[in-house]
């Protein structure tokens, strides 16, 4: 799954923010602030990783159970899908 380029992410003064542009402003108006886990997830999906690959990355970086990481990741993905973050 790949994140659309109409969601622009950049670190601003220590904060990882995402801002929609163009077509994506129809789905979301505002600024998303990514915490460290969300930032890792976002960067992975920007490169076009699969959900499984992202889960393994999270488990490799953070001290969390597979079950918790998996359900949190699924919930985050649903949130991103609801604002049309992923390319078709």
């Amino acid at each position: 799954m790949k994140i659309r380029e109409t969601y622009v992410k950049r670190e601003v003064c220590g904060v990882n923010v995402v801002v929609p542009v163009g077509e994506s402003t129809k789905y979301f108006r505002g600024v998303i602030e990514l915490n460290p886990v969300a930032n890792l997830i976002w960067d992975s999906f920007t490169e076009g990783a699969t959900e499984e690959e992202v889960l393994e990355k999270i488990l490799g970086r953070f001290n969390v159970s597979r079950d918790k990481a998996s359900s949190d990741l699924k919930r985050f993905i649903e949130k991103l899908k609801s604002i049309n973050c992923f390319e078709d």
Binding site: C13, V15, V17
Partner: protein, 262 residues
């Protein structure tokens, strides 16, 4: 016609009432050049050279705004007159193009005083102009260099605020500039108070008050500039009753860095 705006050479067409609105920003060097050429143009051949010169001049500009561009993206707000649409649209085009020159627009009232600029930003009708007027009543030497959309540019590591022809319907502007000392976002409230904002709080406030209809590359550039502003310029939030007390506490904070609650 060539103009000098925010230290950039800008070519702007004679559309709507732009010529009149941009008069204070005419590029003196360009005018003197054209005058010399005019004096020596004595026949058709020379007039042709003049046209070529005008075209080449446009090419030498940092920013060129064309009549076609303005027409292509002309505001569709039917409550506005044609001149008003041209004015707004040309401004939007200018502020998009200055990103390339480390510049951006902030929807704010820019007050110059003692060689520094204080910016008061926030949504329309929140009281930016009111606050600027009260500030001017209190500080007699304060001047509003742009009451609506000052240009901010990063020049040699410093953020400079500029007056521009695009300054709101009351057309309050001065062709002047100075380094930015502090930025303040306004909120209406029952009690006057001021506090310093963390980046996480000020980022969405900035994004709301600048050009957001950008493509991915330009948005990325804008965020890069915002990162620099936030590292260098203190940002405050003022809850204001729109009175003199609001002026004194904002002045104390923005000039001296003191945010004492009254």
């Amino acid at each position: 016609m060539n103009y000098k705006i925010a230290e950039l050479k800008v070519n702007i067409p004679d559309v709507g009432d732009l010529k009149e609105k941009c008069k204070a920003y005419e590029d003196v060097d360009y005018l003197e050049d054209m005058q010399d050429k005019n004096e020596s143009a004595s026949n058709l051949k020379e007039t042709q050279k003049l046209h070529e010169y005008a075209e080449i001049s446009a090419e030498k500009c940092d920013i060129t705004i064309t009549a076609e561009e303005i027409r292509d993206v002309l505001s569709r707000d039917e409550t506005l007159t044609y001149d008003e649409k041209v004015y707004l649209t040309s401004g939007s085009i200018f502020y998009r193009k200055i990103l390339k020159f480390n510049g951006m627009m902030l929807h704010a009232s820019a007050i110059k005083m003692d060689g520094e600029v204080y910016l008061f930003s926030g949504p329309s009708e929140v009281g930016k102009s009111t606050h600027a007027n009260l500030w001017k009543q209190h500080f007699k030497d304060a001047v509003v260099i742009n009451d609506d959309k000052p240009a901010l540019r990063l020049i040699d590591g410093k953020w400079i605020a500029y007056g521009t022809p695009w300054c709101g319907k009351d057309y309050i502007n001065v062709n002047d500039s100075a380094p930015v000392k502090a930025i303040c976002f306004l909120k209406q409230g029952e009690k006057n108070e001021i506090r310093k904002l963390e980046p996480i709080e000020s980022i969405p406030l900035f994004i709301e008050q600048t050009i957001y209809r950008l493509g991915p590359k330009r948005m990325n550039k804008m965020l890069e500039l915002l990162d620099d502003i936030l590292r260098k310029i203190p940002v405050y939030e003022l809850t204001s009753k729109a009175d003199m007390e609001a002026v004194s506490i904002s002045a104390k904070a923005m000039m001296d860095g003191e945010t004492i609650a009254l």
